[in-house]
């Protein structure tokens, strides 16, 4: 009996280990995973299609709801794409305020991830602890924007509400609090024995695999790939920060192994980096207007006369988010395309899960901080329950036809 038998193991679409619907088909040999197949498409909401029926202002609030956690990253990339297409300038003060909201959001997202990761490895005490300290930044965002999530702060060409003088001490206090708890939090998250046992050496994504699979965000940085849209691409207030550089595990003198522990290291260090960025923005906050065009109707009327296309890129907490918009003398975007970070990172799951133990599956899947609802682009509904395989040629022809359709609708 030296012949190994592989067994199929289905996890999902709805499973307590996942926060969102996604289906994994594993082939297991004993306790080891021998084959992985990912099946997306259970939570597709057709946001790109809905946006074609809404005007540019309504689309901002629609895109805020792509993801509940990065609810400022998607509208940020969208606004940048539309500004790129129409040539609308963003005043310096608005750039700084956008940066501050984005970084506050990054802090709450990373703390949320740390809690989820702790929960997945069965360390619920730590889960409650990180979510408890996360409340502070949510309270700060609530004071600042009026909401805990879905801040409704951005508009095309600026921001909607100013950062008033009495709000600055509130943010300062929040940063002060995080610097206080940072020492203990990083100690618990990085030095705790039970976390090290579960995270070190699990879910390894090597440097070469990260390059080949186009991983983004903390997943790529944990593999030693120094890539960060905030550094690589000029946007918002980041070009003013010469000291900004992508965070890799090398910053604490650790050789990047690309395992779950390294992803934890990157996210914990980015908490500190976010505090530094917000400090810098508050110290150098320029005076001036917060929006280049006042009034949403004026923005719509201006964009109605614009023809062109634009790209917006932003470093969401999970990685690079990119939006591509086509404007064509209409109140609504003629075509838009959302590239969410999980869309890039989902492929990295395969080498990570290959060869891991069954007990490590939840933490490895959670380690890229997946947001399935952002990444779902297609769903196939059939009554008979038969499966359908779409090959590369078919998808390519679909894409060519789509582009022809868009071109035929664009005037000129």
């Amino acid at each position: 009996m030296d012949k190994t038998i592989t067994y199929p193991l289905q996890i999902g679409p709805t499973h307590p280990a996942f926060k969102e619907p996604v289906r994994f088909s594993f082939k297991v040999e004993g306790e080891r995973v021998a084959g992985v197949d990912i099946d997306l498409g259970y939570t597709h909401r057709a946001i790109e299609v809905i946006s074609k029926e809404r005007n540019f202002i309504q689309t901002i609030y629609l895109l805020e709801r792509i993801c509940g956690i990065c609810s400022v990253s998607h509208p940020m990339a969208y606004c940048m794409a539309v500004e790129d297409a129409s040539g609308i300038e963003v005043p310096p003060r608005a750039r700084y305020i956008r940066t501050i909201i984005g970084e506050l959001e990054r802090m709450h997202s990373h703390l949320l991830w740390a809690g989820v990761a702790a929960h997945e490895i069965g360390f619920d005490t730590l889960f409650l602890y990180t979510w408890n300290i996360r409340e502070k930044v949510l309270d700060c965002l609530e004071q600042f924007t009026g909401n805990r999530v879905n801040y409704a702060m951005l508009t095309i060409g600026g921001v909607r509400r100013d950062l008033t003088d009495d709000l600055i001490p509130v943010i300062e206090q929040t940063l002060e609090y995080y610097l206080e708890v940072y020492q203990r939090t990083s100690e618990i998250l990085l030095d705790d024995q039970s976390i090290r046992y579960r995270c070190e050496g699990t879910g390894i994504l090597t440097y070469d695999q990260a390059v080949a699979l186009c991983a983004v965000g903390p997943t790529a940085r944990a593999s030693g790939l120094a890539k960060d849209v905030r550094v690589d691409y000029p946007m918002l207030a980041y070009p003013d920060m010469d000291w900004l550089k992508p965070i890799t595990p090398l910053d604490i003198g650790k050789e990047p192994a690309g395992d779950v522990y390294d992803r934890m290291v990157v996210r914990v260090l980015e908490l500190k980096q976010s505090v530094d960025i917000i400090r810098f923005c508050l110290d150098n906050l320029p005076e001036g207007p917060i929006a280049s065009i006042n009034g949403s109707i004026k923005i719509i009327n201006k964009l109605k006369k614009v023809q062109g296309e634009g790209i917006g890129r932003y470093e969401a907490p999970r990685g690079e988010v990119a939006h591509y918009d086509i404007l064509d003398m209409s109140e609504c975007p003629v075509q838009m395309k959302v590239k969410a970070p999980t869309y890039s990172n989902a492929f990295a799951w395969v080498p990570m899960l290959q060869g891991s133990e069954i007990a490590d599956i939840p933490i490895v899947i959670a380690s890229i901080d997946p947001c399935i609802a952002c990444a779902d682009r297609m769903t196939i509904l059939r009554d008979d329950g038969a499966t359908e395989t779409l090959n590369a040629e078919y998808l390519h022809s679909l894409s060519v036809n789509k582009m022809k359709e868009v071109k035929s609708r664009c005037s000129g």
Partner: protein, 144 residues
């Protein structure tokens, strides 16, 4: 290991943040219990809170800009006559509203404002208590 253990022990002896919930824990006099500091008061509302919408029927000019920018299509226009002229007025469906505040910003006459009030639960999504301006609509709408 000991870092979190220290935290757990600290939390064990700190004051509870929540109030005991089931009915049998309700004190005889809430005010008295609050005054003695035995119940936790509700969390204060934040400064920039965007709460329930308020609509002033009389100052509205029926321009319809709020309907145009509303991302949730929660605003509906209906025809009325003001004096001799035909005009339009709005109703706001709170069950659809996302509380983004675009209509408040866009209104040229400041007819729409936001109240510091967040308790808006109801049994019927389209009941009159969740439609702002429904009373004026019943009174003034021109039905053909």
């Amino acid at each position: 290991m000991f870092g979190i253990l220290y935290k757990v022990i600290e939390q064990l002896f700190s004051k509870k943040a929540t109030n005991p919930f089931p009915g049998r824990y309700i004190p005889d006099s809430t005010i008295e219990t609050l005054a003695n500091g035995r119940l936790n008061p509700p969390v204060p509302l934040p400064e920039g809170l965007r709460g329930r919408l308020m609509y002033d029927y009389d100052t509205c000019i029926g321009c319809g800009m709020c309907e145009k920018v509303c991302p949730a299509n929660a605003i509906e226009l209906y025809p009325v006559t003001v004096g001799e002229k035909k005009s339009k007025r709005i109703v706001i469906y709170l069950s659809r509203c996302t509380y983004c505040g675009e209509c408040v910003d866009i209104c040229p006459k400041n007819s729409i404002t936001m109240e510091r009030f967040v308790f808006m639960a109801g049994y019927n999504k389209y009941g009159n208590d969740l439609i702002i301006g429904s009373a004026q609509r019943q009174e003034n709408e021109i039905r053909e």
